[in-house]
Amino acid sequence: MGLSVKTGSFVTETATGSKAYTGLGFQPKVLLLWSVGGVTAGTFRTGAYTSVGFGTDSTHRAALGWSSQNGQNFSNCARTQGPNVLDLVQWDVTTHIRADLVSMDSDGFTLNYTTVNATAKIVHYLAIGGSDITSCTVLDWPCGVATGNKVVTGVGFQPDAVMHLSIGEPSSGSSLQADARLSFGMMEAGGGQWSNVIYSVDNSGTSDSQRHQQTGKCIQKLTTTPSVNMAAQFVSMDSDGFTVNFTSVTGVAERVFSLCLKGGSHSLGSFSAITSGGPAQDSPSLGLAPLTYLLSSFNSSGQASPIGSTRWSLGGSDGTSEETAWANDTDALGTSASDTLSKTDKAIVICSATPAVLGEADHSALGSDVFTLTWSTVPVTAHELLYWAIGAGAAPAARIPRWLPVMRTHDPRPLDAVA
């Protein structure tokens, strides 16, 4: 098979040192890890962590972390970045759990735990391999300091899809800082792009947290106002990298970490989760036959401006396994309220500040042009979901650009009634 994918989860080690993870059935070329520090799958946990990391080999990897302590009169928030693949930061601006990528192995991957915690945490992963992925790497680069196009080079090939991560830190390499910020975005050669971002202010007497999501930007950063004070949109994939247009800048060259992939086919887009008439929902036409997909949401309907409270979901499925995680830090409280939830039996979960599950969906099917979610809990209000669908082969020569509105089809019949 040209493209091999696997989603799954494991728990972190409680002793430092190397740990080999096996059972993938192929040698991955790309590894994406995400964690909210969950201890028991399906159970809410107070105190919020988030780590997102990716790697292609032992020298090309990056992990970013975000955390906010629960029950504090003055918010206690931190962020981290560094050359690792897993980085859970403690709210007192120390490292909670950290692991680096040692190797991609014939049946899995090996991590080296350099900081561990006595309580093992759930980590979700997406591994991608196969001959279709012809090149992949991770690049650390400074964002634009002036509005306009920025040409990013040094990738070594022309990517088909790029995932961006940033914590808004100007220094390169490892960094631990107060204030919790995490930007997550993607762009693909066909023009699809999206991003979401969360930000919680440290040491604030009243909790000060916000979130935003945009389908027309691939990178963005929030400030306390709240407003987007740095943003960029996709322009082109180039022979040695890519070009993005910085539409908002602060003049500070904050670092962006980008996972660049060549090969496979990629589709990025968004849709609004159903609010009634479930249980089935099809995604918009993807223009490819997906083998796996990621979903992300800031747990709101689409918004022109940032909104209060940090709230973020990331999940996905390879057609067999399902993994999702959720984190929250509620805005404008005298005593901070932060929570997380990890699930290993759902593709996406959306929750309230209570915390309570507002909506959650199972992977249902992979079709020739769609993936189908079945909502076991249908959210009663609209929530915008972002997706990255990955298929085999090369991207089609021409397809509907993802940024154009697409008529979404929804068949209200139960799945077993659909021929």
Partner: protein, 114 residues
């Protein structure tokens, strides 16, 4: 392409430059069209005066406008530390009523963990 400077209204410190139009701004911000002006924010925090001239922001202006996040965080910590010390001193004052001292002690513990 039009370029907008988004300022902190009170200090006129430039929080960001944007080509998004219309620029989305917060209640404490003002949008100013600076198309044609040569503004480079990489040199440090900048004030855009009413006559469109530019000058470096003072540390106080940078702090007040919120662009200096590190300084803002340090100021919050300093203020909280001072408040905790003041509560501790009042709680230890033998001239204060016992019930007030107990209340201040509990408040300090609840607020600052001290």
């Amino acid at each position: 392409m039009p370029v907008t400077a988004v300022l902190h209204t009170e200090t006129r410190v430039v929080r960001r430059l944007t080509t998004d139009f219309p620029a989305l701004i917060a209640p404490d911000e003002t949008a100013v069209d600076v198309t044609g002006l040569d503004i480079n924010l990489s040199g440090g925090f900048t004030v855009l005066e009413l006559d469109n001239s530019l000058r470096p922001a003072s540390p106080e202006e940078a702090l007040e406008s919120g662009v200096d996040e590190a300084a803002a965080g340090a100021r919050r910590k300093t203020r909280h530390r001072a408040a905790s010390v003041a509560l501790g001193a009042a709680a230890a004052d033998p001239l204060s009523h016992t019930s007030l001292r107990e209340a201040l002690t509990k408040l300090r513990l609840a607020m600052y963990g001290e």
